[in-house]
Amino acid sequence: MSVNTQEDRAAAREPVPGPPPGGRPRGGSSPRGRTPIWNWRTAQNAKGASLSFPFLAGFTLFVIVPVAMALRESVYTTRSTGGLGFGGETVSFAGLDNFADGFVDGSFWSGMFRVFLYALIVVPLTQVLSLALALLLDAARRRAAARFRVALLLPYMVPGIVATMVWIYQYSPVVGPLTPFFAFFGLDVNFFSSSMVWVSMGNLAVWSALGFTMLILYGALQSVPHEIFEAARLDGASELRIAWSIKVPFVRGSLVLTSLLSIIGTLQLFDQPLLFRAVTPETITRDFTPAMMIYDQAFQVGNLNYATALSVILALVVGVASAIIYRFINREEP
């Protein structure tokens, strides 16, 4: 009968790092005093690592696997076997053809350009307004701030499609309250017109994102040590001066984060234009934004291969844009 324990057998198979400095550990006993391979430190590490398992499993299943499948899908092409198109399909390897097509696809890149211009306005606007709100909340008394915080976060809790429906009714030139409101000031505003559609969508985007961004910035402001403000006040700095010279530099890291999230969200613009399409169909076409074009290719045209290739390109663009912004904003640390 073998006297070897399970651990010993494992030790014989796999080389393991030596024992940690500090002598014989409490756990992981070894009957014959050999080097323990399953010592307490490894056990602790394994225990700690095991906590990440649920995340890793989900991440693998819902991110890594789909990305791998998409990459695989994007290098094939599917065509009918000919005739009237009902005799089945053939799938053939296309290499990087789909990507080559995607990189020169006029509609895709004009959509990208459109969203880029839109992001140039909407992203900074969201950041500035959220920061202003966060600073105001920070200046207010805690109890008042708590109440406003919840109210300002409400729009973020409304799903995008629902928010769009809500705003379409607000904008409605016939039954919405906004048209009479502006008419009261002598302004003839039609939120459904082609020229206003960007404003209509931008306002909706800012409204939705404001609360969440504000909350992150407000959280960051809470962690600024209060002694600094005291010192500044003693030196005669105004509240405005404190906000600009102390608070804003302190939340720079959070601003980078919220800007990146905002950019990523904006470049993937989808549900708002999808619903606004009915309102101004002459402006918002089926390939108006990159995400809409991908949807159209995948589920209407039925070209899943090309749609996934375009998705990969969009992901690359978002990644590059994020990296550039990250470097740009994060260039100088205070």
Binding site: L84, G85, F86, P281
Partner: protein, 444 residues
């Protein structure tokens, strides 16, 4: 506002339920004594469909009513599920059902080799159906599908508005444009063309006799710009050019109904299943509306109404097509139509496939909406009897419909002409078929 919206939503759901119900149930007249096909006990047939509300109860009633055929309803989760399961069964060559609810245009079923030629069985009972229902069941003059009723379009007029501005109800599309001009002088729109919805153009093209897709041997013939289509486009082009229509969107329903209800929109084309929703949401103009035949093209040989249907079919491999046809014929009987009544809503499926659905029309005309309920009912029945039923949409309808939406939206906004729009759609269809490797030719 909220109450209205909620109510509207409820209506929408109810309407949708009614439509799906109607799409699935059939009705009829002229009971025909079932002739026993074989003397050796009942024949079994399996029926696949996705009518969760009434599919099973109709089949149960059929089994009760006769002893020759034993039918079983296999409820599918959806249109797509039916297609998937059906394709699997066909490939496996076993478990093929005998009747499948149409999940795609009938031509698809024929070209795929899925649908049986059941001409010899259907021909014996053509008098049970209207011409549109029979047309929707045919490909190249043979019956590959079971006769299927279409929801026919009719013309609805705000009589109060017409009287106020002293115009006559148009009977041709030329007169329609003329009336539009008259009304325009007083700031009234003849109708509404929603920028996101090109179906009015599809309907008018169908009525004009256009054929956007045809099969020629082993290839499709694509033709979006023939003179029939352009004749249809010309009607709308005049309305758009001279600003005789509004472009209210369906997305903003409260606004749309408010406008419909305001008397500023003089008329619209519609179909039976829209009526309950209109009545609920148009309280002010209720009682002002009258129903009329849809205007015709001046050179039309006989009056026709737009509307199309997706026929159910008998798959290749089913050994009892005669039993399926017997079941389908039975569905035109009063007893079968009653069996299709929805237990929850109490709504009956309007039997659009039979020659004379007048016994059932009363149930679909909402009380107090039309100036004369009986006249409206007669008009709806008359529209059903003249429905065309067939309009081929080709092998890539899902792909080109959004393109048609885009182009229609631009045309309705006056940025391009409808002819340019149709040319662009045709080019899109050609390039999409090219990409997909499907044979086609564009008609000269």
């Amino acid at each position: 506002m909220r109450t209205n919206r909620t109510r509207w939503t409820t209506m929408g759901v109810a309407a949708a339920a009614t439509v799906s119900l109607a799409a699935c149930s059939s009705g009829g007249s002229a009971a025909e004594p079932d002739e026993p096909a074989e003397q050796a006990g009942p024949v079994s047939i399996e029926i696949w469909g996705w009518d969760a509300e009434t599919g099973e109860q109709i089949v149960d009633a059929f089994n009760e009513a006769q002893d020759d055929v034993e039918a079983e309803y296999v409820l599918q989760a959806s249109n797509v599920a039916t297609q998937t399961n059906f394709q699997n069964a066909m490939e496996a060559g076993s478990g093929v059902p005998c009747l499948v609810q149409g999940f795609a245009p009938l031509t698809t079923m024929v070209v795929n080799g899925w649908a049986q030629d059941i001409t010899e069985y259907v021909e014996g009972s053509t008098d049970l159906y209207n011409e549109g229902a029979l047309a929707a069941a045919q490909v190249d003059g043979r019956y590959y599908g079971l006769p299927a009723g279409s929801d026919a379009q009719f013309y609805m007029v705000n009589q109060k508005t017409f009287d106020e501005y002293d115009v006559e109800v148009p009977t041709t599309w030329d007169e329609f444009v003329e009336v539009g001009r008259e009304l325009k002088k007083d700031g009234v729109d003849i109708t509404n063309l929603a920028g996101e919805d090109p179906t009015p153009l599809m309907h008018l093209a169908q009525q004009a006799g256009a054929e956007w897709f045809a099969i020629d041997g082993d290839q499709w013939v694509v033709n979006f710009t023939d003179e029939r289509t352009l004749a249809a486009a010309d009607v709308f082009q005049q309305l758009i050019d001279e600003d005789m229509v509004s472009n209210q969107t369906y997305m903003d329903r409260p606004a749309l109904y408010k406008y419909f209800d305001s008397g500023k929109m003089a008329s619209t084309t519609t179909q039976w299943w829209s009526l309950t929703g209109l009545q609920t949401n148009m309280p002010d103009s209720a009682g002002d509306w009258t129903a009329h035949p849809i205007p015709q093209f001046a050179d039309a040989a006989a009056p026709v109404t737009p509307g199309r249907a997706t026929a159910s079919f008998v798959p290749v491999g089913c050994e009892h097509p005669e039993a399926v046809v017997a079941f389908h014929d039975w569905r035109t009987t009063p007893e079968a139509i009653e069996a299709g009544r929805n237990a929850e809503t109490g709504a009956i499926g309007f039997p659009t496939q039979i020659p004379d659905p007048s016994d059932y029309v009363e149930e679909v005309v909402p009380e107090g909406f039309f100036a004369d309920d009986q006249a409206a009912a007669d008009e709806i029945v008359s529209a059903q009897t003249h429905v065309i039923g067939k309009f081929e949409l080709g092998p890539n309808y899902d792909a080109w419909f959004p393109e048609l939406q885009d182009q229609w939206g631009k045309a309705v906004a006056g940025e391009i002409t409808l002819e340019e729009a149709l040319t662009a759609v045709q080019e899109f269809v050609a390039s999409d078929l090219e990409n997909k490797g499907i044979s086609y030719t564009v008609a000269e």
